[in-house]
């Protein structure tokens, strides 16, 4: 039989710190892209709204058919308020460098997790089923 690992007992303070720490980490990662303004946002940017009020817009100029224009109006929009929504387009140009870095991060993450897990798992199996094995 393999020797059993006896974990230390964790005190109340340690438990408290551990719970809070993870949550703080989540918030940092959740808010980082927001503050760095790195991504496209579902809401049109403020500048676009201001710009829209300056330029006179028409449904035709926005490429909307009469039926589409009628639905927009039923939803309470005028060409001026609809313009920033219609003009807010995604940019799907792929930056190869960014793509490579992203792939590397995801693949690296999974490789890391699976390798460490495997090492820890062998220890678990050894304790549970004894040495040897198949």
């Amino acid at each position: 039989m393999a020797q059993h690992y006896a974990p230390p007992k964790q005190g109340g303070m340690g438990q408290f710190i551990d719970s809070i720490l993870l949550m703080v980490l989540v918030f940092i990662c959740l808010l980082a892209p927001v503050y760095l303004k790195a991504d496209h946002s579902a809401a049109p940017p403020e500048e676009a709204k201001e710009e829209a009020t300056k330029v006179e817009a028409t449904w035709q100029g926005l490429g909307q058919t009469p039926v589409q224009a009628q639905q927009w109006e039923k939803l309470g929009h005028t060409p001026e308020t609809a313009k920033p929504i219609i003009d807010n387009r995604f940019d799907y140009a792929v930056d190869p460098m960014a793509l490579i870095v992203t792939i590397a991060v995801i693949v690296g993450y999974f490789v890391f997790v699976f390798r460490i897990s495997d090492r820890e798992y062998r220890e678990v199996v050894r304790e549970r089923f004894g040495d040897g094995g198949n």
Partner: protein, 468 residues
């Protein structure tokens, strides 16, 4: 103390052990799975229209539907065999290893808690919209956001049976609202209310937009895999979970098709792509006051059902991790009277409130989706390892899914496509989410794992895994 004594079922009359209550049937499993997801038809799915146009969203909806069918098949087999409160977390612990399990547990908690925050925000926004229409401008939505979280947490705290019975009723009502809306727009008379011919345009971004749309098309189904979390509280997990999950998946495929058809026939895609409550807007466009009220109620119900299911699932995952000491043991407690993981429920309330107040909705949704996606990637590898380490016949399985390893491979390919879809437009969020899980993993390996008992983590009565 009397309840606790009977609960523990001890022979000497002294309470020794406590456990979660086994009271749920297939209906509750359906309510948990569909309840979490159905809100996606009322809000969120339409961001996929913004990323790829209306047709793009429909194609993505079908492709992602295939992804989820694989998820449901794989999940049904593994969960009917590994029946424990942690769901995929417990599966990872038994099949892949501790660090993976810790990550899977976090995926679950994050995906559900953030979804819960998003649901509560929807309730607040709707209250504000209704108040505005009734002549009270600028109502502060926050008290309603907090109230929905507090009320549902309280319900969860008081017992799982009541929680999921309520969920069944309101989920069924919300589903009915979608069906009523579909009938209400007279789909048999094209061009009367529905204007597909005039509103549907070509793919605005071409085919790359269709791939990009897959990110939010996940919203049509995200959370159906949460049925596994109920495994420890279901009367016969081997039967109820596959039944509830598969019927839930069928419900969602129907709901998604109806939703797309109605919304695409009423709104220009540019509007639809950024709408907060698309189905409610669709009801407004029909000009029928009755439909508007029904869809208002449906949207509120679906959001509440979803938040309710999320509290249930997130707390089970958090509780299971506490029980194994992956997180502070304090969270591993079961309430002696209500038999719920009450400390986990309590702890996650303020977290959800802060998510709701501090972060923008699409950011929260993206974090939630990505956590789900990481979980599906894991499931693909998990399935292959599961069949390899315990070949068919070596352990008793509640359900065996056909065509292995095809579903696992299809799932992996679709996951990769969805990562790419997220990269298109939300690349920074993707990296931030990965950064979180990498840092959390490091924390677990270098600090937290020393508190974990090694052999005790393996609780299933299975033989030694092949190859170890």
């Amino acid at each position: 103390m009397s309840e606790a004594t009977t609960a523990a079922g001890s022979a000497s009359g002294q309470p020794t052990r406590i456990a979660l209550l086994k009271v749920l049937g297939p209906v509750h499993v359906w309510a948990l799975g569909v309840g979490i997801v159905l809100v996606g038809e009322f809000m969120g799915w339409n961001f996929s229209v913004g990323k790829g146009g209306a047709y793009g969203s429909l194609i993505a909806c079908w492709v992602v539907g295939l992804l989820y069918t694989c998820v449901a098949m794989i999940d049904s087999e593994v969960t009917s065999t590994v029946a424990a409160a942690g769901g995929q977390y417990t599966q990872a612990k038994h099949i892949v290893g501790p660090l993976m399990a810790f990550n899977v547990g976090l995926y679950l908690v994050m995906a559900y808690t953030m979804l819960e925050a998003g649901d509560a925000l929807v309730v607040g926004d709707l209250m504000k919209a209704v108040a505005g229409e009734l002549g009270h401008a600028d109502l502060d939505p926050r008290p309603f956001v907090v109230l929905s979280i507090a009320l549902l947490a309280w319900l969860n705290y008081r017992g799982v049976f009541m929680t999921l019975t309520v969920n069944f009723v309101i989920t069924a009502a919300a589903f009915l609202a979608i069906v009523i809306l579909f009938v209400g727009v007279s789909p048999w008379e094209p061009a009367k209310v529905l204007l597909h011919k005039d509103l549907l345009v070509d793919l605005p971004y071409g085919w790359i937009g269709v791939i990009a749309a897959m990110q939010f098309a996940m919203w049509y189904y995200l959370g159906i895999e949460g049925t596994c979390q109920a495994a420890e509280e279901v009367r016969s997990a081997g039967r109820s979970i596959p039944l509830g999950t598969m019927s839930g998946m069928i419900t969602l495929l129907i709901a998604a098709s109806l939703t797309w058809y109605v919304a695409a026939g009423l709104m220009p895609w540019e509007y639809l792509g950024q709408a907060i409550t698309p189905l409610y807007d669709a009801a407004k466009l029909t000009g029928s006051g009755t439909l508007q009220v029904i869809l208002f109620v449906g949207t509120i119900f679906s959001a509440i059902a979803s938040a309710n299911g999320c509290i249930n699932d997130a707390s089970r995952a958090w509780f299971s991790m506490g029980r194994d000491r992956y997180l502070p043991t304090w969270f591993g407690a079961v309430h002696p009277r209500y038999r719920t993981p009450y400390r986990a429920i309590l702890f996650l309330i303020p977290i959800a409130v802060v998510f709701a107040f501090q972060a923008p909705l699409d950011q929260v949704i993206s974090f939630s989706i990505l956590s789900g996606l990481l979980g599906y990637t894991f499931m693909s590898f998990n399935m292959m390892k599961f069949r390899k380490q315990w070949p068919l016949g070596s352990i008793k399985r509640g359900y065996v899914h056909p065509f292995h390893p095809l579903p696992a491979i299809v799932l992996l390919v679709l996951c990769i496509a969805t990562y790419f879809a997220t990269f298109l437009g939300y690349g920074a969020t993707l990296v931030a989410v990965m950064a979180f899980y990498i840092l959390a993993s490091a924390w677990f390996v270098f600090h937290r794992y020393k508190f974990v008992r090694r052999g005790d983590q393996f609780t299933m009565p299975w033989p030694r895994p092949k190859g170890y």
